[in-house]
Amino acid sequence: MNVVRKVITGRPGVVIILTTAFLTSVYIADWNRAIPRSSGLSGIYEILKGFSQPDFSQEFLIVAVQATWTTITFGTSAIFLALVIAIPVSFLASGTLFRSFVVRITSVSVVRMFLALVRSIHELIWAWILAILFGFSPMSGVLALAIPYGAILARVFADFLNDVPQPPLRALQSSGASNIQTLLYGRFPSAYKDMLSYGFYRFECCLRSAAVLSFIGLQGIGYQIEVSMQDLQFGQVWVLIYFLIALIVSVDWWGSKLRRSLAE
């Protein structure tokens, strides 16, 4: 039994599972359907033509700026809400608040299982579920991002809090610190840079998702791309993609600048 368990949970197990999954997918996939449509080539030609003739007209630029701004506010409120959820939940999922072994194990397993459940549902599916509940409103959109992102952040933050070096924490405890004081004076300060760094990476992902999810009652970049696509205005599509790229690159730049200033 032990050998079986070792193979399943160890490295060979992972290699076997991934290889089997890949080979099965190669066998199952219907390669005949992967032949490009005859209209596909002319479609690519149209898209590339748009690339060389982006629509920088003033009225469309106003539309693009507005759409980008909507996506920014949408993504920012979602990540903010996700952080508000994630930080306290990560304290529970790390199990560091409780001294009693039984309470700690219960808190860790219940909270982590719940987080896994929330995480396993993609934001698009959350969007559908929430749209049924609240209609196609900005609130549905923000919640559809904040809920799964909050769960991902909480899980990763909990790992950061657990992985903090132990000797300084032991020293705090020998100064009389309770578990919650150790968290506030030791674990959180030691982990917050990693948390911030990962939070920024997730902010990028959130803005990308916000752009895509903007069909839920929001006139963001994704919505405008869809409109321009339907009108076959590929010059406009490219302008919107440039705005999206600029947005992600600036968040990345901002994040690394902030990290550097904290490291000094």
């Binding site: 001294r99 070096p165 000797p167 300084p168 032991r170 020293a171 705090l172 405890q173 020998s174 100064s175 009389g176 610190a177 309770s178 919650i180 004081q181 506030l184 004076y185 030791g186 300060p189 030691s190 917050y192 840079k193």
Partner: protein, 248 residues
Amino acid sequence: MTLAYRMSNVSFELGDTKIIQNVSLSVDSGERVAILGASGAGKTTLLRLLAAQIKPSAGDVFLHNENTRNLNSGAELSEYVGVINQQYDLIQELSVRNNVLAGNLGRWNIWRSILTLLSSIDSDISASALERVGLSDKTHQRLSRLSGGEQQRVAVARLIVQDPLIIIADEPVASLDPTRAFEIMSLLENITSPSNKTLIAALHSYDLTTQFFERVIGLKSGKVSFDMRVDHLTKVDLEKLYSVHPTD
């Protein structure tokens, strides 16, 4: 004279390895004891048993007549024992001030701890402790900006704020040059001797042992090899203690 420690036939095992074997000793309150021994002799484990951070596998450790099995880490224990280690003992991301004030955590409730973290309350406490260790000008710096010797002074300042009856020091000067090492040992003597606190430290240096301690315990393979007054310690005793082959 009250006893700081009484250990009777204490052993500590980790799996099948006996790290501490049948150690019995007592330490008077206010005594300064150096513990010597090669790496792996069990010094750190012995000190962690004394600091009540771990409980013995067999036997009992009495700390001011309290069995350490009944003492849980936290506020109560911090009144008895303060610990200083080789390094990696402080929180690098916090300011010097907050690291020093952490010595008060055993007395503070959660709201007070948060208030101190977020405001400049109690700065007079940290300032006077830092003055005693000669770091008055570093109060608001982030700890990671300080050198190794300065960081160890901050750890001493935290002990000053904590003000325990016993100070357990696990190789407190191992990573410092001789001058810094002497300074830190002087500070530890300054905060223990006048107030009759007990100081128990693991060391490797003959000179520091004879300068700052009155009693020396040699530990070899988890057993007490010798236990004597420092004036009786000879370099031959040390050579025996650190030799690989059993000579006694």
